[in-house]
Symmetry: C2
């Protein structure tokens, strides 16, 4: 495994694929240790604290081994949550035209505002936050949600305590470790000592038992959830906001999959009254408009949100954005604006519907096998329960028998054990074929 060869896969922790297996702090023979010049710069102890992730490289390794053993099998990859469908041409045309314009005196643009073009910020506010009170100037356009998570962590620093859902998207924990919030990894439990893990499993409707959750400064909360595919209801989010308010906490709400909501679940935390005083929202065009490789996201920091000394969080976040970021690409922002035009919005919703139809096919296939299936309705992920089984064993068996790659739930934290995540991001024919194979082999 080499950092130059690693293929991309946002929804499993890519970074983990890269962790070297060598234990650099262990003692080695003098010669081996002393090859070449070493600086006297200490390695950041926080970086040393990142889990070494022998678990996840296994997906790539096992996939690779499977191909070696079965050279004629047609592998279907439903592991990685990566969009596959073309971007509607009303949007790509807007980007192409902006790019072309940059070669003209009239169309050329240098630096834009680090916070994003005000027209785009206003369009996001008016299209996606109508009625919530979120203003354009509270929206910071970025190059993606994952990047904003790390900028937020830089903002917060090491002296805060965080809670995460378990299972959860790994970036919350990994960035916590990097900035020094996490404490030590306890090998046995697979948990960091200073992070609060909020169990979210079928037993509690994938919503944490807040009465048993200790107070933290920050609560990372992703809805619709990656990986469980569950969207929190209005009532649940009201509880969450109330909990944060009582405890003086800040919710960092990740709504990257909001476009997939089919029912009455809120698409933004700011649909909940009072949320502007206790929440930040991170979101993205990646899964909404197929911008995974194009790169565009945003973060909402309400003016009402204050630190314990009364200082507005938005002022510090703005400072971070101006110091550590220089704005999203102007070409890409033109695409974002096109996504929010009437026709553009309709076109991206059609693509979202395509993936949602894929998800239905997956749900139906796993349910037909008598399994309990979650997610898929409000999210592009299907979360399948195999009671009492190791998620790794399930992953293996599916791969071996059907040549379909999934993700073992354990990779998203201890709370993901017994589950696998199956992604609806693929072409329809792959869904049909994967579904057919499942039914044929496991029924």
């Amino acid at each position: 495994m080499n950092y130059s060869q690693v293929t991309s896969c946002i929804c499993i922790p890519k970074a983990i694929l890269l962790q070297p297996k060598t234990n650099w702090t262990s003692s080695k023979s003098g010669n081996e240790r002393r090859a070449g010049h070493w600086t006297h710069v200490p390695r950041n102890v926080n970086m040393e604290g990142l889990r070494s992730g022998y678990l996840f490289p296994e997906i790539s390794i096992r996939e690779h081994e499977h191909i070696q053993k079965n050279p004629n099998a047609r592998l279907i990859r439903l592991g990685i949550g990566d969009t596959t469908q073309p971007i509607p041409d009303i949007i790509t045309t807007a980007m192409a035209e902006h790019a072309d314009g940059l070669s003209t005196t009239r169309g050329y643009r240098g630096y834009g505002a680090e916070q994003g073009d005000m027209e785009l910020r206003m369009a996001i506010a008016e299209t996606l936050y109508r009625g919530t009170g979120v203003k354009g100037k509270e929206i910071f356009v970025s190059d993606g949600a994952q990047c904003d998570i790390s900028r937020l962590q830089m903002l917060l620093g090491s002296n805060v305590k965080v809670a995460v859902q378990d299972p959860s998207f790994p970036a919350y924990i990994d960035t916590s470790v990097i900035v020094g919030q996490s404490g030590k990894l306890e090998e046995k439990s697979g948990k960091y000592s200073d992070i609060v893990y909020m169990n979210c499993r079928a037993e509690n409707n994938f919503f944490p038992d807040l009465s048993a959750t200790p107070r933290t400064d920050i609560i990372f909360f992703c809805s619709p959830n990656n990986p469980t595919g569950s969207a929190a209801s209005r009532q649940q989010l009201e509880q969450l906001v109330d909990f944060a308010k009582t405890n003086g906490s800040i919710i960092v709400y990740d709504s990257a999959y909001a476009a997939y909501i089919s029912d009455e679940s809120p698409r933004s935390i700011f649909e909940i009254p009072g949320a502007k005083e206790v929440a930040i929202e991170i979101s993205s065009f990646s899964k909404f408009a197929g911008f995974t490789g194009v790169r565009l996201g945003w973060t909402v920091v309400p003016e009402e949100l204050k630190y314990s000394n009364g200082f507005p969080v938005i002022e510090d976040f703005n400072r971070i954005v101006c110091t550590c970021f220089n704005g999203a690409s102007n070409i890409v922002q033109a695409g974002g604006l096109a996504c929010l035009s009437r026709d553009g919005y309709q076109a991206v919703c059609n693509v979202v519907d395509y993936y949602k139809e894929n998800a239905k096919i997956l749900v139906e296939a796993f349910e037909s096998l008598g399994l309990k299936v979650y997610g898929g309705k409000n999210a592009p992920y299907v979360w399948v329960h195999f009671p009492g089984m190791s998620s790794w064993n399930v992953f293996n068996e599916i791969l071996e028998k059907t040549h379909v790659v999934t993700v073992p739930g354990r990779g998203f934290g201890p709370g993901g054990e017994e589950y696998i995540r199956v992604s609806a991001f693929s072409h329809r024919e792959n869904m049909m074929e994967a579904s057919l194979r499942m039914k044929k082999i496991f029924r």
Copy 2:
């Protein structure tokens, strides 16, 4: 001054424009303090340590006041270092075609590698690092140099000591403060207690006296320099590499203006033998190809570079890139690749030559006034000395008498006093006009 209204200006510290004037930690009346809900989340003490920057908002304020007083004056802005010339259409066409392709099944791409497309990484290595031993896999493509500086600081953490040139581009110090390396700001000197300031003025040929420089873990070094416009010679860089090697330090070398070098000065620190064991290089397409708003840069982390425990820095930087970043926009990377094609490279060099011609006009104008002028030959910045004068007073006088906006050197650190920086990034007619006004008024 409001974060939603701030205009962009990368080369003076924009962030500083945004620092609120309110002293939030001072005691206020109970009512004022307690308006609305306050969380119990502590503000990051490092953020509190950022200089409040009453100095820099002054540029905008004075510019604004000047316009109010002189509504008919045609202001010429040579303050901000922002590109103004169109991007050659061979490059914009490549981006437009990539964007158009994303609407097709064949051309659609989802997530790319976080480190950048290998084709682009190889092209950077072959075009810009030929003969240096830098490999494609040591190059990490990014959304810009400023973003990479902050990611590097996240990598290094709080437990390292840094040195910066004085004067210098403010992002090095500001990010040092944010991650907790800087110590306290000493109001009198304008310096942070734990940062080493390496004086770079005409007296020492804009190169630090290394025999008097204490050891630090990290040495930020920018050449060609922003703001002084001075490029370090091969001999100077050999001294620097030697100094770093002896001290076990890491040089973070910022070569964002390398394309402007006209003489034999090295364009990369990796032209110096042994530099791969002691240096990281950050660079950018912004000033090289007019990509200030398009966003593309890169960082070179050599495999040979090791921490004090022998762990390769590249492994940790790779982990940071994968956890905190998700790759530069694929559309923009297509443009970067086009910049490095034979015809594309020639075309961007022509634009660089245009700005260099601008710089010559500025140099000639200030020299004709009997002033000592530095920079302009290997950089798009002209650094003009006004011995014994306050750089703010000089800024004011030029603005009042000629309606030309510059940057007072003091804004780049205490070492910038007595100087002003004048940017060559503008249309030719502005250069001619500014030059004419200077000569007319001050001769």
